[in-house]
């Protein structure tokens, strides 16, 4: 129809990406704060700081997005992160090397996710309830393992993951933890869009009965999704430990809600079948920008909370509108 069908089509598609709206919001909010407090907020070091603060929620949000796309939910993320920090701290204090400690922490969280997935898949219990139970169980396990107190540990270099870069490594721009986060997100984008497993996750969330009819191993897909989400929560725990350098069993309470909010802002539908990892990452950044910007503006904490809540609901409402086109 058009003289340049290719060009117009490409633009349409760009607008149609689920993460387009959140990204536009992110840019707008960033520019707004940069205008309001140019001398502190707009500085490049602030950008690095905000990236660092997004890593934990961001990594967990990658896993949560997969879970939500599959039609489920995982409320155990916060407890899983806390448990991972405790496991890492205890392992380090027990003489393990940093790599072993990290592997242990991640493995514990992944195993927890695996069990949640198996109960969801075979027990036919709603994910909300299973992961709600897991949330309490993992929190309790973390407290038990830490004997109800914070565990100080020598970070043995793990703190460098999210620490300020030394001068000789300033070419990296961001600390390694941020890079790990971005690479992980890219890897999972590829898995979700191009791997059979990823497509089956979407199929299960979109129409579970059809997926089963077509020979998709629905149970295996579900277990895989929760195990991966657990693994990513464990990695988020590694990053949390890198920031705190203590194993804290009472850490990250309510983190799961922040993670779910990031996914929902990014276009994930709690009914399953829909969601975008890029969108969730953008959502996580958006929340950090609002938080940091409010602080720089000197706004009290409650304002930032109200604004974040408004953004969550607005994002979903706008998404509904986008879907309603004729």
């Amino acid at each position: 129809m058009s003289a340049r069908p290719g060009g117009e089509h490409a633009w349409r598609r760009f607008f149609a990406f689920p993460w387009f709206g959140p990204l536009a919001a992110l840019v707008l909010v960033y520019l707004l704060f940069a205008l309001l407090v140019p001398e502190t907020f707009a500085r490049s070091t602030n950008l690095v700081t905000m990236a660092r603060q997004t890593v934990v929620v961001g990594i967990a949000a990658v896993g949560m997005t997969m879970v939500i796309i599959s039609g489920g939910i995982d409320l155990s993320v916060g407890s899983s992160v806390a448990l991972a920090t405790v496991v890492i701290a205890r392992a380090l204090n027990g003489g393990a090397g940093p790599l072993t400690a990290v592997a242990l922490g991640v493995a514990v969280s992944a195993a927890a996710g695996l069990v949640v997935g198996a109960i969801v898949a075979f027990g036919r219990i709603t994910p909300f309830v299973v992961s709600l139970g897991a949330m309490t169980i993992l929190r309790g396990a973390a407290k038990g393992l830490a004997r109800e107190q914070k565990i100080d540990a020598d970070a043995r270099g793990l703190d460098a993951l999210l620490g300020v870069l030394p001068d000789d490594a300033s070419w990296m721009i961001f600390p390694p933890g941020v890079w790990i986060f971005l690479v992980l997100a890219a890897v999972f984008v590829a898995i979700l869009h191009y791997a059979r497993f990823g497509r089956h996750v979407v199929a299960v969330g979109s129409n579970e009965r059809t997926a089963r009819l077509c020979g998709v191993r629905v149970e295996a897909v579900k277990i895989g999704v929760y195990a991966l989400a657990g693994l990513l929560a464990g990695l988020a725990g590694v990053m949390e430990f890198a920031t705190l350098t203590v194993g804290d069993p009472t850490d990250s309470v309510g983190l799961e809600l922040e993670v779910i909010a990031a996914a929902v802002i990014g276009g994930a539908s709690l009914l399953g079948g829909e969601g975008s990892i890029v969108g969730s990452v953008v959502g996580a950044f958006l929340m950090t920008v609002i938080k940091t910007g409010s602080t720089h503006l000197g706004l009290p904490n409650w304002v930032e909370e109200v604004v974040t809540g408004v953004i969550i609901v607005t994002a979903v409402a706008l998404d509904r509108l986008r879907h309603r086109r004729p």
């Binding site: 191009y194 497509r199 199929a203 089963r212 077509c214 020979g215 079948g273």
Partner: protein, 493 residues
């Protein structure tokens, strides 16, 4: 292919020995009224229900699918009325779902595209206007496009031998039906046996080669479509044994209480015009999916009304269900389990749900009064239950239905909109409900009944209007009608 298949559900005999054979490369029409056993037979073939007796063979070998996946693997694919696709995924992904070829776990996109395009090419018959983009999102396609995708998915299976289409045209427009027929012919050309279930005789005449007629779970006729007249097929469909006597007192119609002019809903109904008087039982006949339920829902305010005028009990225009109830209109849902009753709640709660005013001071429900009210109506309709506090879901279908009707009586309705009031209930309860409808009409209430069971409508109604594809015909006195005329009008034969 199927021989002497039987199936009973509890006391209901759904299939009492059905045999039929289908051949590759031909379209076999399966015809029968609502409840004749077509759906049961097809769900047995598709592996969703196991038969009680009888044997199935596929290409000479015994065929005993235990699950729909089993049947699909054996080459029998079913396309249901409710489509079974993943709406969030692309056309090609849906077609390849479950049989993607991969490398290192990653889907080979190029191969998937080729696979999908080949499958689509088979159903779209090469015609340009019927082409479907393989990267389109399935949820964005119209129903006809989705249906073609589902057929393409079935045909893409290397070993697909039987394709079952259940009422495939019920949601399609005329030009979309042409696309579907082209796809069916393409499937035949590929030596696939197609089973085509439909009520619409003119369609069957156009597309089918052979036919089998079912009635009351039995095969009552079979042959080649070319050699039979439509009126003979209608003759085979009707003639069910009427095991019931219908009470009918002499009733005198009073004032008009319901008047709809050119009423139209979102999709169905369209241009429905009817009047209902006090002391009258008006029946709406028609096939499943004709739009009868939607008509009742529009009148009651549950579905959106797009056009036309409506006047109920002196109130013009569309009102919410709450306003309708307050005014004296009651709706009995066709779907007892998910809409008609809150099955997890007690009998007393269900019965009094729509009118809590008399149960205590404003905003308060006194359990004692609720119980008393429930007991009165349970006695009145002889609802068999241990106690008014028993969960409604624990009762038999007949007793559940009586609770749903008792609610309308308790709320003191003047206009009764009854959707399939006797579906799935025992003969004894049916008789009681017929008697009740007669009593209501005699006491000056107005009753609008939707039913798929023709003898019942002819037995209890004063007038009957036939609905077909969303359009409501004129209401005529039952004396001028019989099963054959009604069925002919409903199927468009």
């Amino acid at each position: 292919m199927a021989k002497d298949v039987r199936k009973t559900f509890g006391a209901t005999v759904a299939l009492a020995g059905v045999s039929f054979a289908i051949e590759p490369g031909r379209v076999h029409a399966l015809i029968g009224e609502n409840g004749a056993g077509k759906s049961t037979l097809m769900s047995i073939l598709a592996g969703a229900t196991p038969p009680d007796a009888g044997e199935l063979t596929l290409g000479g070998a015994p065929f005993r699918p235990r699950t729909p996946q089993d049947a699909r693997r054996a080459g029998v694919a079913m396309v249901h009325q409710e489509l079974s696709l993943c709406p969030h995924m692309s056309v090609e992904e849906n077609i390849a779902l479950g049989s993607e070829s991969t490398k290192w776990g990653f889907v080979k996109r190029v191969e998937m595209r080729r696979y999908a395009v080949a499958a689509l090419g088979r159903v779209a018959d090469g015609a340009l206007e019927s082409r479907i983009a393989p990267d389109a999102r399935v949820g964005d396609l119209p129903p006809s496009g989705q249906q073609l995708v589902e057929i393409a998915r079935a045909l893409a299976q290397r070993n697909c031998r039987v394709l079952i289409l259940d009422e495939p045209t019920s949601s399609l427009g005329a030009d979309e039906v042409e696309r579907l027929f082209a796809a069916i012919r393409a499937a035949c050309a590929a030596e696939i046996a197609v089973v085509y279930i439909s009520h619409f005789l003119e369609e069957i005449h156009r597309i089918a080669d052979d036919f089998t007629v079912l009635r009351d779970g039995k095969t009552v006729g079979a042959g080649t479509v070319r050699d039979v007249a439509a009126s003979d097929v209608v003759g085979m469909m009707v003639g069910r044994a009427v095991e019931q006597l219908f009470p009918r007192s002499i009733r005198t119609p009073g004032d008009v209480v319901l008047e709809a002019k050119e009423l139209g809903g979102a999709v169905k109904p369209s241009h429905a015009t009817l009047t209902l008087r006090r002391g009258e039982v008006l029946g709406i006949a028609g096939l499943v999916g004709a739009g009868r339920t939607e008509l009742l829902r529009c009148i009651f305010g549950l579905d959106r009304v797009r056009q036309g005028s409506l006047r109920v009990l002196g109130v013009s225009g569309v009102r919410t269900p709450a306003a309708r109830i307050a005014r004296g209109v009651g709706l009995l849902s066709e779907d007892r389990k998910t809409e008609g009753l809150a099955t997890a709640l007690s009998i007393a709660e269900n019965l009094t749900l729509s009118r809590t005013g008399p149960l205590g001071p404003p905003g308060i429900v006194l359990p004692r009064r609720r119980r008393a009210a429930a007991q009165k109506w349970m006695r009145e309709l002889s609802i068999r239950a241990r106690d008014p506090e028993q969960r409604a879901g624990e009762l038999s279908g007949g007793n559940q239905q009586k609770i749903a009707i008792a609610r309308l009586l308790y709320q003191d309705a003047d206009v009764f909109l009854l959707d399939e009031p006797t579906r799935g209930i025992d003969v004894g309860s049916k008789a009681q409900i017929y008697e009740l409808i007669d009593r209501l009409a005699c006491s000056g209430k107005a009753v609008l009944v939707v039913s798929s069971y023709l003898p019942e409508l002819l037995g209890i109604c004063d007038r009957i209007a036939v609905m077909r594809r969303g359009r409501l015909g004129p209401a005529r006195p039952v004396a001028e009608l019989d099963e054959r005329t009604v069925l002919t009008e409903a199927t468009g034969a």
